[in-house]
């Protein structure tokens, strides 16, 4: 459960940084921040998915 909250928190903070940077006229930097945040979240999701996969494998395939 905590991973979901972590991802949600990252999303909120990245959105705030994006809006702050955009307001100050640094749109290119704002987009980079968004992209980097997306990549970080993606890595976290991939790790979670691989854990899930491993678990499924141990439950159904190798009993």
């Amino acid at each position: 459960m905590s991973a979901i909250f972590q991802i949600a928190g990252i999303g909120i903070i990245i959105a705030m940084i994006h809006s702050v940077l955009k307001q100050m006229g640094k749109e290119d930097m704002a987009h980079w921040v968004t992209v980097i945040g997306f990549v970080v979240v993606l890595f976290m999701v991939v790790r979670l998915l691989s854990e899930l996969f491993q678990e499924i494998k141990t439950i159904f395939l190798f009993q």
């Binding site: 972590q6 990245i14 940084i17 940077l21 100050m24 640094k26």
Partner: protein
Amino acid sequence: MIKLLGVVLILFAGTMLGFQQAAKYAERPRQLRQLAHALQRLETEIGYGHTPLPEALKRTAAASPEPISSMLLSAASGVEREEGLGFQESWKQAVLRHWSETSMRGSEQAALLRLGSTLGISDKEDQMKHLRLALLQLKAEEDAARDDQGRYEKMWKSLGILIAVLIVILMV
């Protein structure tokens, strides 16, 4: 418990970093104005007081606030020392040595160094003209700095806190 302490420390550090950056942007126009005042005073000393240059620098330094006054003082003392540097060399050394104490940037430094190569080598009309030129450049820089301040001061204040929170969330 120790985790909470770390969180607090990171938040504090990020906030302070943001505020420090913001303070730099707030300080620059103020120092530029002070420098312009100092140059104006120097112009008066040279043009109407006919004061010798080291003396004029010292009087100007006495009337200026801190980072600028020490710069002018060391420029004056460089000329008066035993081995006696030329004014241009002394001025250059003083500007370079004290520059890191100010919040100003390279363009002001270039204007000041150019001014240093013309002061004290010609008649007073010429010197006043060069001082006025430097004043104009500083005025333009001050306008640009004020623009930057309005734009970036707030940004850095919120950005510091936000980045600290992001680091905390990533690490917890």
